[in-house]
Symmetry: C2
Subunit: 624 residues, 2 copies
Amino acid sequence: MAVTKAQTRPSLDQMVELGQQLRVDAVRCSAAAGSGHPTSSMSAADLMAVLLARYLRYDVTDPDDPYNDHLVFSKGHASPLLYAMLRAAGAISTEELMTYRRLGSRLEGHPTPRLPWVDVATGSLGQGLPLSVGMALTGAQLDRLPYRTWVLCGDSELAEGSMWEAFEHAGVAGLDHLTAIVDVNRLGQRGPTRHQWDLDAYARRMAAFGWRVIEVDGHDIADIDRAFAQAVSTSGRPQVILARTRKGQGVAGVEDQEGLHGKPLSDPDEAVRQLGGVRDMTVPVQTPDRAGTPHRFPSGPLTLPTYQVGEKEATRTAFGRALAALGDARGDVVVLDGEVADSTRTEFFAGTHPDRFFECYIAEQQMVAAAVGMQARGWAPFAATFAAFWTRAFDFVRMAAISRANLRLCGSHAGVSIGQDGPSQMGLEDLAVFRAVHGSTVLYPCDANQTAALVAAMADQAGISYLRTTRGGTPVIYPPGERFPIGGSRTLRHSTGDRVTILAAGVTVHQAIAAADRLAADGIPARVIDAYSVKPIDADAVRTAARETGHLVTVEDHWPEGGLGDAVLDVFADGGEPSPRVRKLAVREMPASATPDEQLRAAGIDADAIADAARALIGGTGPA
Amino acid sequence: MAVTKAQTRPSLDQMVELGQQLRVDAVRCSAAAGSGHPTSSMSAADLMAVLLARYLRYDVTDPDDPYNDHLVFSKGHASPLLYAMLRAAGAISTEELMTYRRLGSRLEGHPTPRLPWVDVATGSLGQGLPLSVGMALTGAQLDRLPYRTWVLCGDSELAEGSMWEAFEHAGVAGLDHLTAIVDVNRLGQRGPTRHQWDLDAYARRMAAFGWRVIEVDGHDIADIDRAFAQAVSTSGRPQVILARTRKGQGVAGVEDQEGLHGKPLSDPDEAVRQLGGVRDMTVPVQTPDRAGTPHRFPSGPLTLPTYQVGEKEATRTAFGRALAALGDARGDVVVLDGEVADSTRTEFFAGTHPDRFFECYIAEQQMVAAAVGMQARGWAPFAATFAAFWTRAFDFVRMAAISRANLRLCGSHAGVSIGQDGPSQMGLEDLAVFRAVHGSTVLYPCDANQTAALVAAMADQAGISYLRTTRGGTPVIYPPGERFPIGGSRTLRHSTGDRVTILAAGVTVHQAIAAADRLAADGIPARVIDAYSVKPIDADAVRTAARETGHLVTVEDHWPEGGLGDAVLDVFADGGEPSPRVRKLAVREMPASATPDEQLRAAGIDADAIADAARALIGGTGPA
């Protein structure tokens, strides 16, 4: 049976057939791969058949069409179903379908944007809905286009708190162009879910969060069609279609069975036979709604705030002011806050560009997800919270890298130097966390002018970039207008007779300068390098310093693992020249409350500790 | 006014006075500190006055009394209120109260267990309720004692998804000895909360999650008293007291004002005057309910499963079997699962010890929080999920270290070696994450017998310990019964003429052995070290290898940042001997789907890549 372009509304019978085709394709591509999740695909096949045939509005020949709807598989393991839909839509061939999970195939085990019809990577459960909220927010409040965002969720992932951050954000924002379809197949990976087929339990929760809830039999095509029709006619509220389904639906001995999660069917030929055999139906997907005009981003000259040398200013404040200036110059810059804008200083941007400022409240996972959704539509998001609280959203950052997302994140209140608030508020692992993100950039400025320059650089940086800022004021040491390229460094003290190099970043740069002064007073010339680009580190400067001074002291307001010291040591791990003598200074004991100066001293990362370490390293020259 | 021991039920008037005393103490200790959150304390003071005076059952002279209730400040920034309560209970002196936030004081900016009446550290919002759920679970299902868990929550933190993981877990578990008190003071840090004083919005959500909701005027002592009485008389459901309060209550010009979060009052003397002056009331806290018998942990000989050399077994399976054996030997071992027990293999423990197995579903934050709550009562929790998904709970792990918690975590499906599922399922940053936890232990076994030994070692290890396991089978290379001390390593190939050392762990150990065999065939003797203890690393073995072989190749199934390679390099960062020539092999490109062997090859961490790197490092000897 072929559905031609002329038939704009496939019949119920045709959708039944399409559902079976999607099942057959999920079964056979997983069988060919020898792995995958066919049973999790089969439960949602009827839901996706109706969506594809009658409700999705998408030009599959142009995935970048700004009017296209968006479809996210929050249950990313049901990728065989997604790929089967793409085949049914004529986007990929049968041959490509059968490359599923093979080396070099675009059809990965879980969807990623290597495939042009995929906006965001999924596969870590609980992320697709928050990402979709980001896209729907973008449609409603930034793009202002009528596209819809559809998201297929699993029932297991409703246990993830991030899903409820998303339900809350979307419900309060009234995102009526967002429809979640929950495939309640009762079975998680290990066994039954908490609520199994108690759809009312889910419905109560979602309704309480402000969503319109539509319960359906997920294998009754007419019932599903009615649910979608109700969803698209809803205004003022996001909708959830709660569908009671059976995992493995359509194949005897597989349906609603435990222990078959993530396993190809044992007898795929028999399964295909039971499902009525291979079909080659092509579905004419509805064309996008072309109401409204896609955004064009205005851009003008960037005038960064400047600071005079010797002034004292917190880098967090310089970040906030630079961000507001960037917002003046560029229409694509948007800012997201985790209810700490007064601390991170994104409040300045909020004041001047309220239409591009998004308050996410204390929901860091939804904040990152919203940013990922926005960048998928070409916006340039910055998001900020305390450095420590990025640990709350690390799985979302990790997945954003797999999404090839361009995100700019700022963490304020880094390190023990925040002072009295104590360790719960101190980012002491953020450099390690962000360095361990694929393709990331990690920046840590020490003064206000440098901060402003790095904020500007981040705006054009691909991938995940992270800026670490400091709570307290630090002296301005660089004149306005200097350049600080990503991957660079600045040498602040330098002589031909340098006997040791101190590598510092952020708050420890000022301690390093003071230490060098003390060492100079003892007749020990010391080089000081401001390694503001922690990743990529300025390997040339590090190597030159090693060669010329023979001794390196690294000093950071961070745990010893994964931060600046490790970045410096990594320079010597490429098989080239070995490292010179190195001493890494970092925070080694659990801090408590104390003043910032007391904290730096207690942690052994202040000027005295640096000078002592330098003296010891070069062999006891000068007073101990 | 003094309340004596004879008065077991302080009057309403006395509780009004106590509320004012708590406010005064919060104001004056914050004023003395020059920082802190008095206004956030003042809103909840009446609630805590009633709790302390009439409902909390606690022997303040013995914080370790197993019958004691537990009180958690989820809004940890209201620490002045907690410390004021401790003073009112006679636990700390006025002098100690006034040391708040000073260097060396136990009264940190946010509560930590340095103070014996504090079970768990808070201060990262959204954690206190999940931690309390852990304690209430422990009381109901492990300790089986009648103590209650009380938790003071903020309204801002209700935006965190982790709170809804907790509402869900507790609601379904019917934890009726758990009472949350939410201080709905309408104002977050930056400004108004999402729902401000719309208590019904919160009530709908919490009721939908199965909680009994009691709404009160949080400054009406009689109303509060009635609410607590209702709470303690509730069975089968956890309770939440939703209290409408005013931030800064009691001081004109401060009450319900934006912009005063986290700031001491500008005129503390006037504030104390308005609050009726300093009081020195001491409250006789109710004695604990001594029904039931505290748990005594049976313990017997541990018989670990054994494997014969040459067998092939996945280390994840060996982990699961060893854990079940540990459960047989020790009655204190409990296991928590994130709905992947069939993958992590905690299913074996679930089968043999269902009474000590906790299914947390896909809610990793609540899983860690529950484990922290259990260890606070002396149990020995192990929790497991995919290595990648620990990134979901990293803020909870970070805070667990501040709680001085003893947790044993296992991450399965580490690295590209998992194969076809793709990057969303690959733990490639877990070593970096767990190394950057204060006081942590990071273990990565390569065979089944080693895994079993390390599982046994973890049971007695303090702090956060992490075990990384592998999905696929690896050959058993160690005979049963060998010792693998934490901080040790094993040298697998060794000769006096070794020209290079290969340092590997887990899955790369087997690649390293194969590489050494190839190098030997080329006449290049290579040492192979199994660095199963990634933190602490065996520094002596690394230094000896450096000295004796002059060249090191590190190889890991992990991003280049923060893992095994960095652990090895760190050995040379103490100012002692510099490193020799080092080449770090790690995963540098974003993987996709492929077979495990294809993945190792594509990442450049297989035997061929190791042998090539070793040849290049020692200067091109042997075929390139």
